[in-house]
């Protein structure tokens, strides 16, 4: 059963085609990695799917409903939630309050929302910052906060935009493990990432993008064997 279908999705900015005719079908509980050089249109693809930008052409069907052109908040409420590559915390709030904002989606009362938020914070191992102002968190903490807020919405489909970028290697392993656990628990994930080790460890399928277009889609391990793809788009380190 497919959770997300993207058909012919295209976004043009006055002459520049940022996303060019993307067609993907994401199965329920799948973990799909998305890679490509900077400027390949990965983040724009996320912005289209999650409703931050309206597409020029194409159709997005989520959970059996055509959500093309829906505003971002409606898409998120339907269970399709994204995180941002450049973290966007609510700076006047504590970490707990940040997550509770998302928990409020399901819980009306402050007490319940905060309880739920704390549970999510523990899940992403952000415990030591529970009552710290969000603005004071280090990068690793902010990345986890982004993730926690998204998880607090209890999404069916999570779009993760470089949650590992900016983390020191020591912080990466627990994060990768956490993502693996979430997936094992049945979460469907689209995963933009530059760190190939993480992509390969987690992804069941891999989408390679280049200049907005879909270059290849398939088994990640087969794809790393494809020398042409590797050299041109994954960087020569992996060749």
């Amino acid at each position: 059963m497919s959770l997300l279908q993207v058909e012919g999705l295209t976004k043009r900015f006055s002459g520049l085609t940022a996303v060019d005719d993307i067609n993907i079908t994401v199965a329920d509980k799948e973990f799909l990695g998305i890679v490509g050089p900077n400027g390949a249109g990965k983040t724009t693809l996320f912005s289209l799917i999650s409703g931050q930008l309206p597409p020029t052409h194409g159709r997005i069907v989520f959970d059996g409903v055509d959500i093309t052109g829906w505003p971002a908040d409606k898409v998120a409420s339907a269970g399709l939630v994204r995180t941002f590559q450049l973290m966007r915390p609510f700076e006047s709030m504590t970490a707990l309050e940040n997550v509770a904002v998302a928990s409020h989606h399901r819980f009306r009362s402050r007490r319940d929302a905060r309880r739920h938020a704390l549970a999510v914070i523990e899940r992403v191992q952000l415990d030591r910052y529970v009552n710290a102002p969000a603005g004071s968190l280090p990068t690793a903490g902010l990345k986890r906060l982004e993730l926690a807020r998204a998880l607090a919405l209890e999404p069916k489909l999570l779009l993760l935009d470089e949650v590992l970028a900016g983390l020191v290697p020591a912080d990466r392993a627990p994060m990768i493990e956490l993502l693996g656990d979430l997936h094992a628990d049945g979460l469907t994930v689209l995963f933009i990432e530059h760190i190939m080790a993480a992509v390969l460890a987690l992804s069941e399928r891999l989408l390679v993008m280049h200049e907005g277009a879909q270059l290849a889609l398939g088994n990640p391990h087969e794809m790393t064997q494809d020398r042409a793809v590797v050299e041109a788009y994954l960087g020569e380190d992996y060749a």
Binding site: F13, S14, A18, N38, G39, G41, K42, T43, L53
Partner: protein
């Protein structure tokens, strides 16, 4: 990163794509609409033609006054993004400065204006350099609005403390008026109109022909980029505010002969100047000139049909419509 830049550049790009002729369509349309409306009022407007002529002449001259006040503001608002709410109070300050120079030193009013210009330039330089720069650099527009609001109250009330609230007048140097098509245009107002044209011309030349003007435009377009190539952004900000204040000083000197001076005399100009600046397009000197004249005409000709302060409602209606539907103004291309 690059993907973000694409998203951010969406609006300007699409504007640039329709650039060319389209860019001038609205200014031309406005320029054409003004005479058309005037002709309509003459022919089917059901008003005495002498009255209409007088209100057109008054409106043009009033528009010149408005333009004179707005030119300084468009520079400050356009380059710094500062909503200078003290603009009207600075106009009052200039007028009282001119009054003081004429009454204690006995200078003729237009000479006093020449003396007031560098004084106000210094005042503006200090205000921006000393108070506002920190807020401008960090992009805190609400903060600078509040500081200039405080400054406005401070100037007005200090003037009140020194000069009291009774209306004062500056002795004019040129009595009399010019009669044109049966309408009356006083020499003092004509000089103010001419002064507006001169200031507009001078400022355009400074902005386009001097290296300092280039610095201002560079900072206005991209302050971080300008800083990278070695422009002292803080000083450019302060000088820009200073030049804007100098324009206010010219306005104050030219208006003083035919307005009665109270500490609040400049206040009504503050919001009108904003209307004109937004209408004309931020940072556009020509826009401020045209905007001033349009607003002057709307006010006086509109008064034929909506007496009293009623015509000002029209002015604000124009303002709100422009803000909502074309915030970049008539002469502005991008926001």
């Amino acid at each position: 990163m690059q993907e973000r830049t694409w998203a951010a550049s969406e609006a300007p790009d699409s504007d640039a794509a329709v650039g060319g002729i389209e860019k001038y369509r609205l200014p031309l349309a406005v320029a054409a609409a003004v005479p058309v409306v005037l002709v309509l009022i003459y022919t089917v407007g059901d008003k005495d033609t002498g009255l209409v002529t007088q209100s057109v002449v008054t409106g043009l001259l009033l528009g010149g006054v408005y333009a004179l006040v707005s030119i300084g503001l468009t520079l400050i608002f356009g380059v710094l993004g500062v909503i200078n709410f003290a603009h009207g109070a600075m106009l009052s300050l200039s007028m009282f400065l001119v009054f003081w120079l004429t009454s204690t030193l006995g200078l003729p009013v237009y000479l006093a204006t020449v003396v007031a210009v560098p004084l106000m330039l210094g005042f503006g330089f200090v205000v921006q350099g000393g108070l506002l720069n920190r807020l401008t650099v960090s992009g805190n527009h609400e903060g600078s609005l509040l500081v200039t609001l405080g400054l406005s109250l401070l100037i007005t009330n200090v003037l009140l403390m020194i000069f009291g609230g009774r209306p004062l007048s500056v002795p004019g140097s040129l009595e009399g008026a010019w009669r044109v098509f049966g309408a009356i245009a006083s020499y003092e107002r004509l000089i103010a109109f001419g002064g507006a044209l001169l200031v507009a011309l001078a400022l355009t030349l400074v902005l386009n022909k001097t290296s300092f003007g280039m610095c201002i435009r560079a900072v206005s377009a991209n302050s971080q980029g300008a800083a990278l190539v070695g422009v002292n952004v803080g000083r450019v900000y302060a000088l820009t505010f200073g030049i804007g204040s100098a324009c206010v000083a010219v306005a104050g000197g030219l208006l003083a002969p035919f307005l009665s001076l109270t500490p609040t005399v400049g206040e009504e100009f503050t919001i009108l100047a904003f209307v004109i600046v937004v209408l004309g397009g931020l940072g556009s000197v020509v826009g401020a000139m045209v905007g001033g004249i349009v607003i002057g005409l709307v006010q006086t000709v509109g008064a034929l049909y909506l007496p009293g302060t009623g015509s000002l409602i029209l002015v604000f209606a124009v303002f709100v419509i422009v803000l909502l539907f074309r915030p970049q103004g008539i002469f502005g291309v991008t926001r």
